[in-house]
């Protein structure tokens, strides 16, 4: 691997936390820091002082390059870094880095316009991400791939198609948020026992059920009726609901057509394990890549900047 011209301070500044690492020129992580101060806790004018307070020492000697990805670059963040349109690779991102200082840049999120067919939506359907783009490039670097399908599970799960090192298109699924709403606030909450322990048989059966008609709006109600007829115990219902929603997401992805590219599942162990199981139910192999993808992405971007482009 090529060495960088300087140390790297890589920052993932999201909705609810600020995570950062300090890397040496070889890309080795020397220190890690995390603070529960994200977009939801901060006003725009607090970003710079919070940054200085927590990470200022890493930049004090003026040597390090600093890249910040995530919601810090949104309209409500430190400063708005306008979205980079897809298809997007490093060559597209680089001219759109928002340099706040000679060696400190915000990484823009991505904007896709997914094609729709006919009718009033013929203009296409917008989709956006902020922060995931760095995880995607990191996952590709770790897997040594230029072409892949990626799933990044979460509150708003992302399904991403990469060809020739560039994100071609992506779709956001409200899988995680809907799971929370349905399990906590809907009629299902009357019998469902919230638990993070997975009942694997119940989960697998629900993933399979989701591949059949008559659609997720009916299937989720079935969680309630299955409880009424004692076909699901209260402690199985959360796993059943989880399987239905993840199963629906994977059904929709499969319906859109297989690309033949390798499938990467990117995220924390807790998030990726259920998707891995669900993909296994559907006979779909995948490679799991953990959260280190974030730092691999920052490193790959920093390396691609080269000495000349690292300052504006």
């Amino acid at each position: 691997m090529n060495r960088m011209a300087q140390p790297l301070v890589a920052v993932d500044w999201g909705s609810s936390s600020l995570r950062a690492v300090l890397m040496d020129e070889a890309g080795q992580i020397l220190q890690r820091r995390q603070f529960e101060q994200g977009l939801l806790q901060l006003q725009p004018d607090q970003f710079e002082p919070v940054f200085e307070q927590h990470l200022g020492d890493w930049l004090a000697d003026g040597q390090a390059l600093c890249l910040i990805s995530g919601m810090a670059g949104s309209r409500q963040g430190w400063c708005e870094a306008p979205y980079c349109p897809c298809p997007a690779g490093f060559d597209d991102l680089k001219p759109r880095l928002l340099w706040l200082r000679p060696r400190l840049a915000l990484v823009p999120g991505l904007h896709a316009i997914n094609p729709t067919h006919g009718g009033a939506s013929a203009a296409g359907q917008d989709d956006v991400m902020r922060g995931e783009e760095i995880q995607i490039f990191g996952a590709l670097a770790l897997a040594g791939l230029a072409q892949a399908e990626l799933i990044l599970p979460g509150t708003h799960s992302k399904w991403v198609t990469v060809q020739a090192h560039r994100v071609q298109r992506f779709h956001t699924f409200m899988t995680g948020e809907l799971y929370a709403l349905l399990s906590q606030q809907s009629i299902l909450a009357r019998t469902l026992v919230p638990t993070s322990t997975l009942d694997e048989p119940a989960f697998r059966a629900a993933v399979e059920l989701a591949q059949q008609g008559p659609g997720v709006l009916a299937h989720v109600f079935g969680t309630r009726t299955s409880a009424l007829f004692d076909r699901l115990r209260p402690e199985q219902q959360a796993s059943h609901l989880s399987g239905l929603l993840i199963g629906e997401e994977l059904r929709a992805i499969a319906t859109e057509g297989k690309s033949g590219s390798p499938l990467l599942l990117v995220g924390s162990a807790a998030l990726t394990e259920r998707y891995r199981l669900a993909l296994q139910c559907l006979g779909q192999p995948c490679t799991v890549i953990n959260e280190e993808a974030t730092w691999a992405g920052h490193l790959a971007l920093a390396r691609s900047l080269g000495k000349k482009e690292s300052t504006p």
Copy 2:
């Protein structure tokens, strides 16, 4: 039409209200009453005194027959009237009426076990209704049909297949409840302006969009991104979301296969109008039948009982 042997007190006692009519022997409605005292407001031992208080005078002379449909017959209601299994017509319902008094019966709800294919769900998926069965039979009577597909929109929308005067199977969709959760409690609520006024072009476009990939979990998130890119004004977003969810319900129904039977849309004007518009977008004709279906259903059931069977 044949005359009944006695007047009829028809009661629709649901989750949130008690509605009742008094009919003469010819089936003419003489009086109507409504009280906001339903399953959610009452304890089981309160049903009988509440009934006496509000409707006792209609039964005082011992002449009238009284039929009660809806959640009053559930486990948490007046008394549990066990579900009647599908296929179910009047001949199936009649022996399962729960006679609380010589001339007062609870009408049981229906239970369907919908076939699933393979895997751990091979036993089939249960579904239930209470109250809608009377609306269904009433709608069939009003339309003069023995065979139909019916949609009863609502918090938990029902899609029903009737052949030879019997409910063969049905599916419940969480369309209405999900609309409420997403518009009020999800990330969409940050920009969506709640309104019951329909933006018809936005609604139609969303119904069409819902027929395409990549599924409803992605489409609903699109409401948010369309707002971010000013493709939907805040006051259009509720109509867009409504069109996506109703469109998904109709997509799932269509995917299950057309029966060729006439399609009846049963419910209040407010509930049926959006479904009628959505069906129109999809080139599907339908007949709208209003809430009087409830009383037509009670009347048809009472007539079918005949003099002998009207007492146990």
